[in-house]
Symmetry: C2
Subunit: 218 residues, 2 copies
């Protein structure tokens, strides 16, 4: 049954941050891009574009910007685990070390996929609510998830990052991104240096799903 | 190769709006929920919860609210195609008819998955930009896409809707959604009445992807 194949991919869709500089063959990239293109979007508008950055100078510049935000993020992230059991803290330190590696080697990744979007092609139905808006992302991250699952299927490591959105004007200028288009994610891609993919640590279904009303066990 | 199996699912992930009232077996629902739970989220915070609504009165009330917004949406949507060739207009009218069916039968769908999120567990890195924010969605719609791909794999029709976000306060009250949690999507699920899934009409990769800089052909 084909369902089992997709579940195996999803179950092992780990963030892979240590990537080899080896190029990704064009035919593999083509299949990954096609997977993203198939994703559903609101009103089928497909309000996203992805710049596949292979130019070394551009990747290195993004890496410089990324490193600043990553280093700041790590300070906050470590605070979350300061009182955690030693074993858990060590696990988080391994994640941080992998992130440090990614930041230091951003320019070495064969491809950084810079995901852009245009709000003019989106019906942002939660724009009127008194909280941060997310609905525009419903027509962007479906495609990003398809792209990442395709990477997983092809044995290519990747990780969804958004820290560079804090430096959006600099990235827009660097890549010549058109007026009205903005950045939603930056996905470094490459073959894994170590084992790469594997089982993930997620909350159980019983903590994430409710039946009929909030808090009612599924 | 397992990659082909996932590409077949993605290629045929059509929005399915005509759904049978037949219940979805618990073991199938369990697999679909597990698929969503595996999705990556920022800092692995999993800042989403999904209320699986099977209660008929709640689904019917959401259907009443949905119908108002759907009817308004259709008026705007038809304007997009008023000057399109006859064949294209007829295609869009078939989509609208399917949406009309969904709105009229919201209460008949066996499950409506109401996707909730909590901004407190999100690092919204584009909050400082002078445009609508989408980054919070990066930790929500990855899970929604997994859920929908799992539905596809299980032969269960579904469609990502967000129109009810315009009535978020009413939905929050209806389902007793906790303070600090908001709504990001509403996914009606059920076995397809007609053919259901099939090939989709999407833009080609060459229109969606650029190489190195904006507008540069991939």
């Amino acid at each position: 049954m084909s369902a089992n194949a997709i579940y195996d991919l999803m179950r092992t869709q780990r963030a892979v941050r240590r990537l080899k500089p080896d190029p990704i063959p064009d035919e593999v990239l083509q299949r990954i891009m096609q997977a993203a293109a198939w994703a559903p979007t609101g009103g089928n508008r497909q309000p996203w574009r992805i710049v596949m950055v292979r130019d070394r100078a551009s990747k290195e510049r993004m890496g410089e910007l990324y490193t600043v935000h990553w280093d700041n993020f790590v300070k906050i992230y470590r605070q979350r685990w300061v009182d955690a059991p030693e074993e858990r803290r060590q696990k988080e330190e391994r994640t941080i070390a992998a992130g440090d590696y990614l930041a230091a080697h951003f320019g070495d990744c064969p491809v950084v996929a810079v995901v852009c979007f245009n709000p003019k092609f989106m019906a942002v139905t939660d724009a009127g609510q008194d909280r941060v808006s997310v609905v525009g992302g419903g027509s962007v991250y479906t495609a990003v998830q398809n792209l990442m699952l395709a990477c997983r299927a092809e044995g290519i490591g990747c990780v969804l990052t958004t820290l560079l959105c804090m430096d959006e004007p600099a990235v827009r200028e660097l890549l010549g991104i058109d007026a009205d288009w903005y950045t939603a994610a930056h996905v470094p891609m490459g073959y894994p240096i170590a084992g790469g993919y594997g089982p993930t640590a997620r909350m159980p279904v019983s903590d994430l799903f409710y039946s009929d009303t909030w808090g009612n066990p599924i």
